[in-house]
Amino acid sequence: MKFTYQINGAEHTLTLEKHPEGYRAHLGTAIYDVKLLHAKDGQLHFQLDETRHTAHLAHETPAKRWLHNAGRTLVIEKAATHRRGADTAGGSGRLTAPMPGQVRAVLVAVGNEVTAGQPLLLMEAMKMEIRIAAPHAGCITALHATEGGSVNKDDLLIEVEEIPT
């Protein structure tokens, strides 16, 4: 059985073969004997060769799991579904809300020329001011946000078209 995951932006492929005592895992060039010892309440207790390990898992979606192991928290996505995330992020000039919040100030108007890093819009969320800045120099081609308005995560706020220099 082959498993491919996206973790922290990198792809990891693992194969597991059934064994009388459990599984044999191939990960890159490494090989491990795997024994599942205990599985309950989202907690996995298993043995790799001679060492015991514990992992805790929770599913945010069927394809996106949160995993805790040895003090680290990881987001593990099934590789097939990961591409969808890249699509919705929008082009580099399509600026979206990084989180839900309120629009405090729109600092530019359609037609304005802006420089890379110039603040375009200020949001407030969780009592913090969040600054949406131009990713590159360009021209504002569309504004989708109004001051005082509420926005959801990934809502399109502003479009900036690159001007060839």
Binding site: L48, T73, R104
Partner: protein, 502 residues
């Protein structure tokens, strides 16, 4: 404790939970308030009564003085504890409570006012002989700001005169950024405090943020409970605090303590409060920054090393009790550290994170305390502070406390949304922090572009595959939250609620 037996807790989250539990210990009946999205929050479920204040926006709920005071009247509460944030440093709120014949669990309104105006407080401290950071106040326009900035020099700090808690605060590194920074600070200050006056202060690079806890009764006794060091900050918000400070020795402690007591006495302070100082680690000179006229987020570390319960004393002082000990009776014991678990992404500019906390748990054990307002299944909304929980450890010395915190963080589960849990571990393992030498620039200097370690343990990848392999139900995607109880009646009863949010 006479005077009151029912207390309205005018707050939410971990501090509301902590205050409600303290009420129970003191035999007081706690009443909660909540905004609509908080109807099922932990603090609401723990109280004897609860009043809905209104919609999510804090201005229409937790910040609405009339609604809060009405809630107290309506439920028969004779006292109000404001917690921290929200209305806790609002002198008008305190005054209205007192005028309504209720007890405000905090300092007199005059003391809040005197310290709340950072500009006036600077002047007052200067005349009382408490050293203040070089700076300027009463800055009517951009020209005045430019003139003052030229005198002070860069980098400098723009602060809201009415403010606190990092809001309306900006560091400016050069004259070119001065006016945009001032404009942003004004906007935040106006929004947060309804007052856009600013002050400028020299920004001390490589300084330490060290604060002194004050406890003052209504009978003239003002004591300090030693210092807390809170130098590890991001965006002017504290991340890790410890007590005692690795920088402070007995002689500096006595000097800073005396200055803090003097500052508190100058404004007729009673109840618990904190005097914040900025300290030059080389000269050990210290400068008054501001006084927080309320309970601090990081009060548990002082409780650990002093053996005193600050919230109990807040209630007892408000009820008129005299402190039964003297300064000489108080000595710090051991070392305490607090880590703030935030719903935020430290690898992405500390962007706040929202979502459902699918699983949350912390390990039990000696010297571990967790103050939390959330639990597995809690929904973290964008409306309020991203603080999920405070993880506090206490041990015999700093080395043991660091070890205890590391193992505690390693065993903490916070799954379902991005938190700073891994980042906290990176700070604790950093040699500069371990050496006790972190300044307020520590994160910017030493962990400026922190990213999670790129190597993924084999065990984690194998665990993911094992989970998939043995998961007949992994493809069913439901938002129901099943019970821990095998025979639970609510196994399929998602978010069932009747008549909630009256």
């Amino acid at each position: 404790m006479p005077q009151f037996d029912r207390v309205l807790i005018a707050n939410r989250g971990e501090i509301a939970v902590r205050l409600i539990r303290a009420c129970r210990e003191l035999g007081l009946s706690p009443v909660a308030v909540y905004s609509e999205p908080d109807a099922d929050a932990l603090h609401v479920r723990l109280a004897d009564g609860a009043v809905c204040l209104g919609p999510a926006a804090a201005r229409e709920s937790y910040l609405d003085m009339n609604k809060v005071i009405d809630a107290a009247r309506q439920t028969g509460a004779q006292a109000i504890h404001p917690g921290y944030g929200f209305l806790s440093e609002n002198a008008e709120f305190a005054r209205r409570i007192i005028n309504a014949g209720l007890v405000f669990i905090g300092p007199p309104p005059e003391a809040i006012e005197a310290m709340g105006d950072k500009a006036a407080a600077r002047t007052r401290m200067q005349s009382s002989g408490v050293p203040v950071v070089p700076g300027a106040q009463d800055l009517a326009d951009d020209t005045k700001i430019q003139q003052a900035a030229a005198t002070i020099g860069y980098p400098l700090l723009i602060k809201a005169a009415a403010g606190g808690g990092g809001k309306g605060m900006r560091i400016v590194h050069s004259a070119a950024d001065l006016l945009e920074g001032a404009a942003a600070a004004r906007r935040e200050a106006l929004h947060a405090f309804g007052d856009d006056r600013l002050i400028l202060e020299k920004y001390l690079t490589d300084a330490r943020h060290i604060e002194i806890q004050i406890l003052a009764d209504q009978h003239g006794q003002t004591l300090h409970l030693f210092e807390r060091e809170c130098s590890v900050q991001r965006r002017h918000q504290k991340v890790i605090e410890e007590a005692p400070s690795p920088l402070v020795d007995e002689s500096l402690r006595a000097k800073m303590g005396a200055a803090a007591v003097a500052a508190a006495k100058t404004v007729g302070y009673t109840n618990a409060g904190t005097v914040e100082f900025i300290v030059d680690p080389v000269t050990r000179d210290f400068y008054f920054l501001e006084m927080n006229t309320r309970l601090q987020v990081e009060h548990p570390i002082t409780e650990a090393i002093s053996g005193l319960d600050l919230v109990h004393w807040q209630f007892r002082i408000a009820a008129g009790e005299a402190l039964p000990f003297q300064q000489a009776d108080l000595t710090p014991r051991g070392h305490a550290i607090e880590c703030r678990l935030y719903a935020e992404d430290p690898a992405n500019g500390f962007l706040p994170a929202t979502g459902t906390l699918l699983k949350f748990s912390t390990p039990p054990g000696p010297g571990i305390r967790v103050d939390s307002g959330v639990e597995s299944g809690s929904v973290i909304s964008p409306h309020y502070d991203p603080l999920l929980a405070k993880i506090i450890v206490h041990a015999a010395d700093r080395t043991a406390a660091l070890q205890r915190m590391q193992t505690t963080l390693q065993d903490t589960l916070a799954l379902g949304l991005t938190t700073n849990l891994d980042f906290l571990q990176a700070i604790l393992a950093h040699p500069v922090f371990v050496a006790g030498e972190a300044t307020t620039h520590f994160i910017d200097q030493h962990l400026p572009n922190w990213q999670p370690a790129p190597d993924i343990p084999a065990a984690a990848i194998i665990a993911a595959a094992l989970a998939e392999l043995h998961s007949p139900s992994a493809t069913t995607h439901t938002t129901a939250s099943p019970s821990q109880d095998p025979h639970s009646p609510w196994l399929r009863l998602t978010g069932f609620r009747m008549g909630g949010g009256e």
